[in-house]
């Protein structure tokens, strides 16, 4: 039986082990690094990509994507299908 209130399952541990949060975390870091690199592009880099600031826009895109995934995980947390399946130590 799933919990009547899904928000109750939204513990820190369950969020951290949600694959959507892990994906979001990776892309937050990628996005930040790229956006910072793209904030001050060298002329050489710009020439390489035909004048398009690829680091900046990819970085911003990744941040938006990460926000969407984190939001999804936050709003629709994983509800354990059966409480008995949860190991006692799993919440640590």
């Amino acid at each position: 039986m799933s919990s009547p209130n899904p928000a109750r399952n939204r513990t820190a541990a369950s969020l951290l082990t949600d694959i959507r949060m892990i994906i979001a975390l990776l892309f937050v870091i990628y996005g930040l690094v790229l956006a910072v690199l793209g904030a001050a592009p060298s002329a050489e880099d710009l020439e390489k990509s035909g004048g398009f600031n690829v680091n900046l826009w990819s970085g911003l895109g990744m941040l938006a994507f990460a926000a969407a995934f984190a939001g999804w995980a936050w709003l629709r947390p994983v509800a354990p299908a059966d409480p008995a399946e949860q190991e006692p130590g799993a919440a640590e």
Binding site: L34, E44, K48, S49, F52, N55
Partner: protein, 560 residues
């Protein structure tokens, strides 16, 4: 495999690129540790406890196939042939994925088998089970070796590490996360990999289009390039099939690639089917390949199009298309485009995406091998009737053994000149007859156990004969044409032999075939539930499949 030209392909990776790449590997291993905490019995390890949501298994379903062959091979095809390459995705995958979802998945998931060979056991008995189990396990080790070799040779070229060091490091990483978390780790990592691959290829495609002057610029340049405007339309694809006649070419694509090869690959290949079996309900299992079909429709735009861009903008590729020999081949198209277009930073993400895709293929082979070896060979024929704990404990050791085997076959693979063709041939040997046996066995209750294994053996044998004849030059066909014909022969021989033998031998009694044969299975048990977590129109398998099919038709019209 050819030796890549070292200096041309060495990317200008800087510290930040390596850092981004390393971060990715930290995440991959982290997912392995995370998945480990949820493993408590052998079903957890081998089939993820049948608990994963459909979007996860659906993405894993495509990602398991989005390996080196897909990224490198299809961008190479894009550079060489252009739009006809789209057939590998649209005709050559989507209809088969939908067929798996709607027609075959109810039997796979509904009968609660743990693997494709186990379905053979229930339907046809032990000889067919053993034939299928052993041939599948052997094929997985061979293919894992090829994937590992490709992975290592890319690391070798890009980063300059010696081949054997790259090989061992790559093997160690894949081994660590699969051994730790079993199928869950492999599947979760496939999902992560999928997004990193897209994050790498999408900017590459965009920058590429930007540089050649947008879509119109690409059309102009491709039309003017050797090969001409024919490269811009998917049909009839004469260059791809090698048939001079357009009608035969279309026929070859639809029946050879679209029916026998694709259906054989997608519906019986346990590497793929396993991902659907790991989902949490019949409805989710059916949705897995359908959800996978959406990205499958779109992936060619970030794989084939960059290949085409490389074909008209990378100097070495342009020279190659003009018939010169610049020391690279079409397989290098994607790497050369990355070298030309991507500045440091995004280059690191692209490297992570490439390596991710190559590891995905190998991890998928390993996890499928694990399940089949443990359940279908070890537990069925070698050490029977031990407690579940025993087989769970075995899991990681089987992975170690399989990885060692793959390192061995990778060294064998490094000695082959034309690895891709050889691999495609392998698929036609095993998958085409398997598909024939499955489809006949699922819909014809009269088919007997003897027919099951004899059909498989003779079907495979006839594909091998076609292969040998074309190798010896008796049948004059290109590599692709030969594997179309071989798969067709295997399919026809398997069906014919199975029918004849079935009529001569005794079938299994009806009551043993409930849930395995269409006419003997209550229609209710083949239906997915549509309540609770499976409720909602957007979760109805037939409706979703209809949407996918409609998009496929539209794409074929637009890019036809």
């Amino acid at each position: 495999m050819h030796v890549l030209a070292q200096d041309q392909l060495r990317l200008d990776a800087a510290g930040v690129d390596y850092a981004l790449l390393a971060l990715y590997f930290v995440f991959v291993l982290g997912v392995g540790f995370m998945a480990r905490r949820s493993v408590s019995d052998s079903l957890d390890f081998f089939l993820s406890g049948r608990s994963l949501p459909a979007w996860v298994t659906g993405i894993a379903f495509v990602a398991a196939n989005l390996g080196a062959i897909e990224i490198i091979g299809m961008s190479a095809n894009g550079a060489k042939y252009g739009m006809p390459t789209m057939h590998y995705f649209w005709i050559g995958a989507v209809p088969a994925m939908l067929f798996l979802a709607l027609v075959m998945m109810p039997f796979y998931y509904g009968s609660k088998v743990r693997s494709v060979p186990e379905f053979m056991l229930f339907r046809f008995g032990r000889p067919a089970h053993l034939v299928n189990g052993i041939s599948f396990a052997a094929a997985q080790i061979l293919i894992a070796g090829v994937n590992l070799f490709l992975l290592a040779s890319i690391v070798n070229v890009l980063l300059g590490w010696p081949l054997w060091v790259s090989l061992l490091v790559a093997a160690a990483i894949v081994l660590t996360y699969t051994a730790l978390g079993g199928l869950s780790a492999a599947i979760y990592n496939e999902v992560l990999q999928f997004f990193v691959i897209v994050a790498a290829l999408l900017p590459l495609t965009y920058v590429g289009l930007h540089k050649v002057g947008g879509w119109d610029g690409l059309v102009q340049k491709v039309s003017a390039s050797p090969g001409g405007a024919e490269q811009l339309s998917a049909w009839p694809g004469n260059e791809l099939t090698g048939f001079g006649d357009s009608f035969l070419s279309v026929l070859g694509i639809v029946f050879g690639l679209g029916f026998v090869l694709a259906f054989g690959y997608w519906t019986t290949n346990f590497v793929e089917v396993q991902r659907a079996m790991a989902s949490k309900s019949m409805s989710a299992a059916q949705r897995t390949p359908i959800i996978g079909a959406f990205p499958k429709l779109l992936i060619p735009f970030v794989v084939v199009i960059p290949g085409m861009i490389a074909g008209v903008s990378v100097s070495e590729m342009v020279a190659l298309k003009a018939g010169e020999s610049p020391g690279v081949d079409y397989n290098d198209a994607m790497l050369l485009l990355m070298r030309d277009l991507l500045p440091n930073g995004i280059l690191g993400v692209a490297l992570a995406g490439l390596l991710a895709s190559f590891m995905a293929g190998m991890a998928a082979n390993l996890s499928a091998f694990n399940t089949v070896f443990t359940y279908d060979i070890w537990q069925s024929y070698v050490v029977k009737d031990r407690p579940d704990r025993y087989y769970l404990k075995m899991g990681p050791w089987v992975t170690v053994g399989a990885t060692a085997g793959a390192v061995g076959t990778a060294f064998i693979a490094s000695g082959y000149e034309n690895l891709m063709d050889y691999l495609q041939q392998l698929f036609s040997f095993f998958n085409a007859p398997l598909f024939a046996t499955f489809i006949l066995g699922m819909f014809w209750k009269r088919m007997t156990p003897t027919a099951g294994w004899v059909g498989l053996v003779l079907g495979t044998a006839s594909a091998v004969v076609v292969f040998l004849l074309s190798e010896a030059g008796v049948i004059a066909l290109s590599g692709q044409g030969a594997s179309f014909v071989g798969a067709g022969a295997a399919f026809v021989v398997d069906i014919a032999v199975s029918v004849v033998i079935s009529l001569m031998t005794r079938p299994k009694p009806d009551e043993q075939l409930v849930g395995l044969v269409y006419s003997l299975t209550p229609k209710e048990s083949l239906k997915a539930s549509s309540t609770g977590e499976d409720a909602g129109w957007y979760r109805k398998p037939w409706l979703l499949a209809g949407i996918v099919l409609a998009i496929t038709v539209v794409m074929n019209i637009v890019f036809g």
